[in-house]
């Protein structure tokens, strides 16, 4: 497994391989066939599979989501792409009231093998309406699965899993991660739901990092190391169904949990994870918990505020440090440029 490719390429390859394997897989969404090809993730596929299987759409998120549902009722396996998750707010009726419910409310007579890809992103000056990560909405409603892969490996494996799944899957991509590179096997493989990944072993505190915040947690782990603390880092990969078991087992060991979401905290994935761990470990292990995520405000575009809006490796390390020490220590590690493997330049 020494081939290294980018997240973008991993998504593209997964799509290509599944479209090649299964003629019922089709791909559409605004701009999937345009020169930018959704940051490259759909590059070349319109040419290879033709305009019937790969096509751009009108700006009609509501109807096009319904169209995807209709296609999947007819036995196709649509992949519907949205360049920003914010735009899914136009498709909520079809996603929540139909996609999540069809198998059940039709008593199992139908099913919807549907994948909805949507991108989340750090604002870089885009502000309020181009920066949201609303995965908790989809975790809340029974009937949808949610994947939020961090690495190119998981990006490919989760997407193939999602395409082959007979029920609707929300596939969440963070734009910063698109430029991440990593080892990815060429043959197809799946990363199924139900198993979180322990990305670094440690004994003092459990860091759960969702989507892009996984990267910041990995950096925080290194900062903490320099502060003498061994953090265990967990990537849930799939948010629904969520592998609460793996997280709780880690916290049973460390006694401390810091969940860092790439989203708001109230009724968010971090609230869910804290609640689950509390439920699972009550009576068995006293725990210390901390949630981190977007500041509880609208995302501001100006950098002087945006920097405060997001958690980052240093603020995460500082919070985890306090969790371990048991009180506010005011420790904030010096910024280390060697941890900045990933460059991000907006706007995207």
């Amino acid at each position: 497994m020494d081939r290294t490719i980018s997240y973008v390429e991993a998504v593209r390859e997964a799509t290509d391989q599944e479209m090649e394997r299964d003629a019922s897989v089709i791909l559409f969404g605004l701009d999937v066939d345009d020169p930018k090809a959704i940051q490259g993730t759909t590059r070349g596929l319109a040419q290879k599979y033709g305009p019937e299987r790969v096509f751009g759409t009108p700006l009609s998120e509501d109807a096009m989501t319904g169209v995807a549902i209709g296609m999947s009722l007819a036995g196709l396996r649509p992949i519907h792409v949205h360049i920003r998750m914010d735009f899914l707010m136009l498709a909520m009726n079809q996603l929540i009231n139909i996609a999540a419910k069809s198998r059940y409310m039709y008593g199992g007579q139908v099913h919807l093998p549907l994948v909805v890809r949507s991108m989340i992103g750090k604002s870089w000056g885009q502000g309020a309406q181009h920066s949201q990560a609303l995965h908790s909405f989809f975790m809340h409603v029974p009937g949808l699965k949610v994947a939020a892969p961090t690495t190119p490996y998981d990006a490919k494996g989760c997407l193939i899993e999602a395409i082959r799944d007979d029920d609707p899957v929300m596939y969440v991509e963070h734009r910063i991660l698109h430029f991440q590179k990593g080892p990815v096997p060429e043959p197809t493989y799946t990363v199924p739901p139900g198993k979180a990944r322990i990305t670094v072993k440690g004994k003092d505190v459990t860091l759960v990092g969702i989507s892009y915040m996984q990267v910041e947690c990995l950096r925080a782990q290194r900062y903490l190391e320099s502060g003498g603390i061994q953090a265990e880092v967990i990537d849930p990969i799939w948010l629904s169904p969520l592998d609460g078991e793996t997280i709780a087992e880690s916290v049973r060991k460390t006694g401390r949990l810091c969940v860092v979401d790439n989203g708001w905290m109230t009724c968010g994935a971090a609230a869910e994870i804290v609640a689950q761990v509390t439920e699972r470990l009550q009576g068995a292990r006293e725990v210390r918990v901390r949630r981190m995520g977007f500041a509880p405000v609208t995302c501001p575009p100006t950098p002087s505020l945006e920097n405060l809006f997001y958690p980052n490796a240093r603020t995460i390390a500082s919070a985890a440090y306090d969790l371990v020490k048991g009180s506010a220590q005011g420790w904030l590690p010096e910024e280390r440029t060697d941890l900045r493997e990933i460059e991000f330049r907006g706007p995207f």
Partner: protein, 310 residues
Amino acid sequence: MHDRFYRSLYRIRRVEEEIIRVYPTDKIKSPVHLSIGQEAVSVGVCEALRADDVVFGSYRSHAVYLAKGGDLKKMIAELYGKATGCAKGKAGSMHLVDAAHGVMGASAVVGTTIPHAAGYAYALKLRRKDSVVVSFFGDGGADEGVFYESLNFAALKKLPMIFICENNSYAIHTHQLCRQPTANIAERARVFGVPAERIEDDVLRVHERVGAAVKALRAGEPGPFFFECLTYRWKEHVGPNDDFHLGYRTREEADPWMKNDQVKRLAGLLEADQRRRIESEVEAEIQAAFAFAEESPFPDGSELFTDMFK
């Protein structure tokens, strides 16, 4: 042909009359939106379809479910909330489904199945099938943005589908002209480049015009087609009763529609004994269906957790 039409019309009318009769006993476990008075649309359209054609509807879908060949026993059992219902009691009256007969779904949220029909038609076209898809919705559905988005997409992709707007002039108690500045739904469709036509409440005319569209689509002519079918709901919006006392409409308004009753009209086109034979067969079928529902068990508690995922 008239016998087939009559059988279908009479069957729908009588099933719903039985629902009205049974409703006060509380045996029916979900709200019912009756199609009485509107049967001609479903029958006229569905008599032009094949078993492998597909329909989508709304919460008011008893008529289209039955006209398209949906299983009557399973429908009544579904209304009774029984395990033998078409969706094992998980649908109720508002989400009737019979995939084997091309009844692919009905939604309680207005307008929401219109794009499903377009998506299904896209799949048929991609696979070079000659089946067609029909989307049934009300004049209220034509208020919703998804209606226009779906029309635009269907026209853009020339999909093998037929839009059937059952215009009964009301959304619940609100008249079309309190919701739309002009009563011109067919014209609204035409502006997307879609052949669109308004049809009076006439089952034979509906059948003829829709039949021609179906034929064109099967022959590979570009779709979609659009029909605004004028019709009238006799009963209250939801439930088994009349509602002229509410004051939002008058009996006088209803009168011409009731006089034009297509069930009676078709009855008149048959020989007396042919008609009686049909009627007695249908009555027996209905009795059997209600008995079936009655005798069927409720779903077991363990069913709560099935059908969520594969």
